[in-house]
Symmetry: C2
Subunit: 203 residues, 2 copies
């Protein structure tokens, strides 16, 4: 016999399946929902059931878009340069880059990284679509903006190799590696410091 | 213009209102829900809307119970001693005490602590009901199991004073204060160590 009432226990169990949510956090959320205004719960509940139907992938950039949009508004924005494409792993990377307000090109979301251990090969990512798009949009520069992880780096290398073969004149760049802003050199890790040294800039 | 599609942005905003959930955690949950099986989302959504209607407070112990139960199953259990009542702040305290499997009395949930700063006075807690219950059930022992916080201690003191006045022969105890199991003395805080010294036990 569970000590808490069944509807509450079930809710705790279900919330406990969200990523990074342990039993205590799930309890905390469930008790919060128990005491919330009914309207909050109804709205949350509605949003959860609707999110999948309300969202789809852009067929060009593979960014997440509203179900009633044809392509990503970022791609459709006439002020943005379609010949400059930033290649990222996930939709949230687009959000992060947009926050810099410094990029006026367009994006291409790979939808992950090559990771044989997780069974993800190049054919599961939107690499073929990227190559086709480079041709169709007559792209001039590709900025490889994958994560600085082993998988991110090797995916970038793989994509770079294919692009070099098929589009030899294409300018290919990647995000600079170096000391992150606000970090003391004494606390920077070895690899970061090594990259910062290798890529030192002339003043 | 939001960079992510509207249904996703709305879900992130709503999830961000759960306790302790910041924007990044809300994003993580929302992306998980976007990729979850539809059945998971439907079930979670259903549980969230139903939890308030499916749960009520026991009119005797003020523990949370299923809406179709009359009183708490713990109170109704004939193997448990109704004359021994553990007084706790919140329903989750009952769960914690039950996990010890060492208590065979019954519970009384105060529903909070006296906290003038939060506008909670004794009349908002189930103290009057406790006094009435002591009389009705001919209680012999009250175990004050409020938290070891300032509010928990002063609430316990307030309840103790009332019980002493109205039921002079009642045995009143409280949970022992001391070194928690597994903690080194060198890391115990001053007050804990002081209490452990004051309440040292004869061997």
């Amino acid at each position: 016999m569970s000590i808490l009432p069944t509807p509450l226990t079930n809710l705790i169990d279900e919330l406990g399946q969200l990523p990074g949510v342990g039993p205590r956090t799930a309890e905390r959320y469930a008790f919060h929902l128990l005491r919330s205004p009914k309207e909050f719960n109804d709205r949350l509940s509605h949003l959860i059931t609707q999110v999948q139907d309300g969202v789809k992938y852009c067929p060009v950039t593979f960014m997440l878009i509203d179900a009633d949009q044809e392509v990503s508004p970022l791609y459709n924005d006439s002020r943005r340069d379609r010949k400059q494409i930033a290649v990222v792993e996930q939709p949230l990377d687009v959000v992060a880059l947009e926050k810099t307000m410094a990029f006026l090109g367009v994006y291409h979301v790979l939808g992950g990284v090559i990771s044989p251990i997780d069974g993800v090969g190049p054919e599961q990512l939107h690499i073929a679509e990227l190559l086709a798009r480079i041709k169709a949009d007559k792209a001039k520069e590709i900025i490889l903006a994958t994560n600085a992880s082993v998988e991110g780096e090797s995916t970038a290398m793989y994509v770079q190799k294919l692009m070099r073969e098929q589009h030899p004149k294409l300018k290919i760049t990647r995000l600079a590696r170096g000391i992150p802003s606000g970090v003391d050199i004494e606390y920077a890790d070895q690899i970061t410091l090594l990259r910062a040294l290798e890529n030192r800039q002339s003043l």
